[in-house]
Structure formats: structure tokens, C-alpha cells
């Protein structure tokens, strides 16, 4: 693993190297975030908010789906407690990201606080699966992935807030870029792993929960179902791991 303190000659070099390695991974997210951020900014704009709102909210909240929900919350009666608990529920999946990144973020120094702050779906997926070259510093690579993603989102939502609904061409379907990205990340994981139990559970249990609980309420039941299933399967799964 590259260690910046061990390379006194190339501290700046380590950073620019990490930035160069990180950027290509973020290109699909650039497309997705500029577009989705833009639509969020437009939403705020047409509901009468200045572009300062989406800009500051993207900088501080930086959780896409929650920011869309926040548009509605800001238009309703003042209820901060409800806003807090609704946020915890919608963003509960971050708990899983944190648990998965405990090790990878461990030795990243002060950057760790920003990495955790910016731990969105996309940054998690890239930072967990990316094959970081041996001569690139892991911490800086993950830092730039997170920072670039947030820059795309803030830029998109600010532009949307300024321009409103004056967008010149037909973008119907462009939001599929995020779906396509998660399909690819799922495939990459599938091709790397030794057994597919967890991947298959990850598709099947949420699908069942989606049918039962419907789109707005299926995430928490899915997380519980996955936790229970993976806990029950711990012995056989750990045995399989050890046998290979």
C-alpha cells in the first residue's frame, strides 16, 4: 500500500496520481449526478426557492433521495422531529456502508471524516469495488472519488436551481445511467466473488419486500431481512470462505 509519508519526494504527486486514477471511475456518476442534481435544483426552483437552497443543501446533506424528499418537507408545516426520523429511515442503508467500510477507511487520517461525511450510494460502490493500482494511495483515491461525486452533485443542483425548467433537449430516460451503473457494479462483484449467496439474497429479498411493502416502505424491511438471512447463514458462509 502506498503511504504518503514514506514518499517525501511526491506528496503532491501522490495526490495528482490518485486524482487521475479516480476520475475515470466517476465519469458515469458525473453524468448521473449532473442530471439528477439538475432535476432536484429545478424542483426547488419551481417551488419558489432560490438556487442558494439546493446549493447549500447539496453541500451539507449530500444524499440525493433525501434532498428530493426535503423539497416536500420544506413546503409542509414546520415539524423538525418528523424531518429527523424520516431522514434516519430513508438513509438507514448508510449504516451498512459504514460497517463495510470500517476497514478500508481505517488508515486514512483526517480524510476519514470527509470520506464518512460523503459516504453516498455511489461513493460507497466505487470505493468498495475499485481495483486501486498498487502505486496509488488508497486514501487519496477514495477521497477524490468522494469529492468529485459531491462536486458533480452540487454543480448539477446549483445549475438546476438557477436555470429552472429551461432545459433545451429531451432527457427522458437519462436517469437510467444510475441503474446501469449499479447493474455493472453488481456484475463486477459477481465476477469477483467465490460464492453468490449474498448477491442472490441481495436481489431476491428486496424484491419480495418490494412486492409486500411497496416502493416507499421496502428498504428497512429489506435491510432487516438481509441481516437476518446473513446472520443465519454465517456458519456455512464462513466455512465456505475458509475451505477455499
Amino acid at each position: 500500500m502506498a503511504n504518503e509519508t514514506a514518499q517525501p519526494s511526491g506528496k503532491g504527486g501522490a495526490k495528482s496520481k490518485a486524482l487521475k486514477a479516480a476520475f475515470p471511475y466517476t465519469i458515469p456518476i458525473m453524468t448521473g449526478f449532473l442530471f439528477l442534481g439538475f432535476t432536484y435544483g429545478v424542483q426547488m426552483n419551481v417551488n419558489g426557492f432560490s438556487f442558494v437552497y439546493p446549493m447549500l443543501m447539496s453541500m451539507t446533506i449530500f444524499a440525493g433521495s433525501m434532498e428530493f424528499v426535503a423539497v416536500g418537507l420544506l413546503l409542509q408545516k414546520f415539524d423538525p422531529i418528523n424531518a429527523f426520523f424520516l431522514t434516519m429511515i430513508i438513509n438507514a442503508r448508510h449504516l451498512f456502508y459504514g460497517i463495510s467500510m470500517l476497514d478500508k477507511y481505517r488508515h486514512t487520517g483526517l480524510k476519514k471524516y470527509y470520506l464518512i461525511f460523503g459516504l453516498c450510494d455511489e461513493s460507497f460502490s466505487i470505493n468498495y469495488t475499485a481495483q486501486i493500482p498498487a502505486d496509488v494511495d488508497d486514501g487519496w483515491f477514495m477521497f477524490f472519488v468522494t469529492l468529485l461525486n459531491q462536486l458533480y452533485w452540487v454543480t448539477g443542483s446549483t445549475l438546476g436551481g438557477i436555470l429552472g425548467s429551461l432545459f433545451p433537449f429531451n432527457t427522458d430516460g437519462l436517469d437510467f445511467v444510475m441503474t446501469a451503473m449499479f447493474v455493472v457494479i453488481f456484475l463486477n462483484q459477481w465476477m469477483q466473488e467465490k460464492n453468490h449467496v449474498s448477491s442472490i439474497l441481495g436481489l431476491v429479498l428486496p424484491t419480495i419486500c418490494l412486492v409486500i411493502f411497496k416502493a416507499d416502505h421496502f428498504i428497512i424491511p429489506s435491510m432487516i431481512a438481509l441481516l437476518v438471512a446473513l446472520t443465519l447463514l454465517r456458519k456455512p458462509l464462513e466455512k465456505k470462505e475458509a475451505a477455499i
Binding site: 446533506i61 420544506l74 431522514t87 456502508y97 441503474t179 455493472v184 429479498l205
Partner: protein, 109 residues
Amino acid sequence: MTIPQQIITVAMIVLGTMLTRFLPFLVFRSDKPTPKYIQYLGKVLPAAVFGLLVIYCLKNVSIFSGSHGLPELIAILVVIGLHLWRKQMLLSIAGGTICYMMLVQLVFK
């Protein structure tokens, strides 16, 4: 809502979001060994979460009405096909997205 009320509302959303992101790191501090069970979860959860994220993206697709989820199905098959063929992340994503945009704009209107 007045501006202070808006600020408080946004602050609560920031607080809620940050709690979900920081909590695992606060509970399992790096100066102490992480419990074996949590280490196990850290290994097996990501694969399951990637599946969950795919389903999450498709949560509003309705199989029984509209275009019956066909544009999504076709575009995902294109993504998978391109990815198995070339293993070029950007090509698979761009190909699938362009295919989907053409389907929803020109075929399944």
C-alpha cells in the same frame, strides 16, 4: 415556514443523514478490534447491498401497467451483454443508458 424554521429543518436532515453515516465508525472505533460478527457482516453485506441498490433503482417500475418494465428489462440485458463482452464499465453504462433513452423516447411512448 420562516427562514429560521427552514434552517432548523435542513439542520435536522443533515443531522439525521450524518448519524446514519458516522454511527458505525463511532460504535466500532478503530483503536479497538472490531467484533468478529461485524467483520463478517462487513464482508458479506456489500454484495447484498449492490443487489438491493439495483432493486432500489427499479422500485417504481410497474410490471402490470404502462410499458410493463420492458424498456428496463431490455436495457439491463444490453448492459449485461456489453459488460460480459467487453468488461468496459463506461461502455456498458453508456450503451445501456442510450438504449434505454431511445426505448422510452421512440418506442414505448
